[in-house]
Point group: C2
Amino acid sequence: MADRKDVSPPHTRLIAKLEAIGRVTEAEKSALADLPYRLRSFPENADLVRQGDKPPECCLIVEGFVCRYKLLGEGQRQIMSFHLPGDIPDLQSLHLRVMDHSLSALTPVTAAFIPHEALHALTRAFPGIAALFWRDTLIDAAIFREWLAGVGRRTAKARIAHVICEVYLKLRAVHLADDGGFDLPITQVELADALGLSPVHVNRVLQELRADGLIVSKGRFVIISDWERLRAVGDFDASYLHFRSEAA
Amino acid sequence: MADRKDVSPPHTRLIAKLEAIGRVTEAEKSALADLPYRLRSFPENADLVRQGDKPPECCLIVEGFVCRYKLLGEGQRQIMSFHLPGDIPDLQSLHLRVMDHSLSALTPVTAAFIPHEALHALTRAFPGIAALFWRDTLIDAAIFREWLAGVGRRTAKARIAHVICEVYLKLRAVHLADDGGFDLPITQVELADALGLSPVHVNRVLQELRADGLIVSKGRFVIISDWERLRAVGDFDASYLHFRSEAA
DNA sequence: CGTGTTATTGACCAACATCAAACTTAGTGG
DNA sequence: CCACTAAGTTTGATGTTGGTCAATAACACG
């Protein structure tokens, strides 16, 4: 788990993430490394950015888990995505001034805040990076679509299996998981808010998945014991993640 | 309705749409007008682009209604958005080579297919247009998020009211609707597939909305008789559409 | 006038929600 | 090292929204 302190600079995971979705030249890498930033820490449950804000900067997650959510009229919450180190979940604020949702820390989080001007200058100087950033936001959109399909049409069991597959692959892409299992710091309540279910039902379905021998989980630590079957149950096909290897 | 043939050139509604979400200079307008294209017609229900395709061009809808959908494992369909004249629903294919969903004609459709090279050249020459295009895909993503929230957490009644509000505003933005009502060429089956409901239930809820005096509908023609209450029932707040007037 | 699509109805059912309580677990401070 | 606490998980009983199935009615179109 994370007992070893992560001392790598903010941009290393960003580069790993960008390399998972496209090609990055050496010149681009050093430009990314030169980006100015301001580090900030957030305790669990704090908002990094809030619906209605007009942020002058984007946040690059350096450590910890973040979720994107919306509060609805009846006081309910819908979580719309999970983000991990290397992600810039509010990259969209470069072109959409007002946030239409909030970002919240699922664990203690360290984030590097990068001024919009710096990012605009970077994209102007490196069209390749602009294209990659655009591509990244397009992949986010593809993930929203997949979640929409899940919440709209898949059973509770499929939805849960599906999201486990997805997070696992995203973690692998930034070298935060391997076949030995991984740390999934998402409570059942949060899973419920992400999947449009009640926490009670999430709990029951999780037990089914364990009973079926698809996953083993102990606290926040999860092992996928039967990838193929989990994938089948979740109706999971990774192509919507548009990883370089699969998308080509 | 559409008994009057629409003779305006393909780019006029595109410009109207872009102006709804941002500013467009005269130079940019004429560059948009100069874009090469190839017109194609599709009958109701035909796919314009299909999941798995690697299209070399983007399609600008000139006339008719289009939906974006995915087929899931169990043979179910999830519709993920509706598109109307002026939209380029597969703009994302500029940076995501493989389509992860399909586009289908809800009515007979005319679309202008514009080669990727031409669009890339345009965005290179006019960074303002590149930004607008990016912004447009970001707004699409915002709409996916809103739908996700709806399907995840809102009641059937709220979802239906919500989508009627949304389509109405989008139609108004391209001057295809006014307070006198509008043509909504979406069957109840399609609504059901968009909202994650069964057609039977959509029918019943629609009747409730009519009984409550929120809408009047006769065939495909819809009149919103009480915007304020419809909006309240649908928990609708237009800010996620990021129209220029509201987003500022 | 048929004929196919879409809308509507009714009877019945299942997946998942809600409520409320108990149980675990991981921290925290004495 | 052991209470003590708060967060998260698990369980059981019961309720409801919305699904399924199947038949009928309205249209729209040639």
